[in-house]
Symmetry: C2
Subunit: 230 residues, 2 copies
Amino acid sequence: MYTYEYPRPSVTVDCVIFGLDQESLKVLLIQRKHDPFAGKWALPGGFVDMDEPIDQAAQRELEEETGISGMYMEQLYTFGDVHRDPRGRVISVAYYALVNLTAYQHQVVAASDASQARWFAVADLPLLAFDHEKVMEIAVKRLKNKVRYQPIGFELLPEKFALSQLQNLYEMILGRTLDKRNFRKKILKMNLLVELAEMQQGVSHRAAKLYKFDKENYQQLEAKGFSFEI
Amino acid sequence: MYTYEYPRPSVTVDCVIFGLDQESLKVLLIQRKHDPFAGKWALPGGFVDMDEPIDQAAQRELEEETGISGMYMEQLYTFGDVHRDPRGRVISVAYYALVNLTAYQHQVVAASDASQARWFAVADLPLLAFDHEKVMEIAVKRLKNKVRYQPIGFELLPEKFALSQLQNLYEMILGRTLDKRNFRKKILKMNLLVELAEMQQGVSHRAAKLYKFDKENYQQLEAKGFSFEI
DNA sequence: CCAAAAGTGTTACAAGTACACCCATGA
DNA sequence: TCATGGGTGTACTTGTAACACTTTTGG
């Protein structure tokens, strides 16, 4: 067994947890209990254990804050400036996750190192601790880009959804309106949605058809060279 | 001043250095002098110094192996599985760089921890040390994708180039042939190339017009919402 | 004069964009 | 019966794909 004699930085993971409700795209922040930045809002995160892969550390953080496991999560970027943490050299691997807010909103709980956890509109964030403003900026950019070329938007919706919900999602994330007819034409032509027998319930207007995303078919089509694009 | 009492992993950077010559897309590998994996080929890399940003560590590695500085370089992905290095917990932040092989090929020099450094065709790599096969796979995927949506291909060419060189580059990276007339139409319509007075020299056939990439104009167009696409 | 790559337009088809009205439902 | 969002088709414009011959140059 060999060992390294180099001094070592600390390594943390930070999670940008995106959710979507009727009004806007949201992100989950925690209020820090301890210094540095006590009282400030920050992205949930924490240390990577020595016997834990970094992906798993990120999943653990997500679960500690939301109680959700198995959600869509992807590595975002690694932040390694020397002075990004006043306590010393800390390299942070950032992840972003997409969660279905409708189903899980009530479960958000502050972990032990936070005095509270809350959803904030991405367009209206408080000042953030560390370099988390920069992390957010990159996360939003990545989400905007990714959502156009991969069908990850569905992760933000309930399993059964109406086309207008899906369109709304794209409009909120991309920050522009889309033509209803063209949107429907395009998305339905892809054969990625299964029309359900079930209809929207409890609305005071014509009920919409519900659809679900056909993941199996997407994977097959993708293997044959199909590429998703909005 | 605060300190962390957590055990700390080691952090390294690894560099995927891409180059292009007449035949194919290449990558620079070093042959390891020491264990683990002594004698095996690997991506150039090394430890991040405590007072050095990770981006800068990657640039330093690039420069140590190639003598080149200021080349296009971008963070790729961070690899953090527990057993990826037999010596202990080592988290590696991978970068990829694009260099102009025509101009710099002769300058490749093995750094002190390597017995030699050599360019290999990406399509025909030797077995690699650590998890570097996986790193390469992700790097090639990223390059293939990125080159279609951002004008980074030019980084692999000399400053002055013929359209056929550019087309060749895309064909080699994307792994398929492109129609000459359609390619020229598309790329010229973008207004990103400046036609130079100079012509190709020393070829035994009709000399091609030379062009250069108009970076300033690209940035202006991009700011106005233009998006590059091949 | 031959070999080798440079350079050049047109047509057919597919995809994208713009646009306005009737329908179903619950209050 | 009104308010609210659901649902639908067509014409126009733009982009993509397929395709073959002439030009220039050096050897």
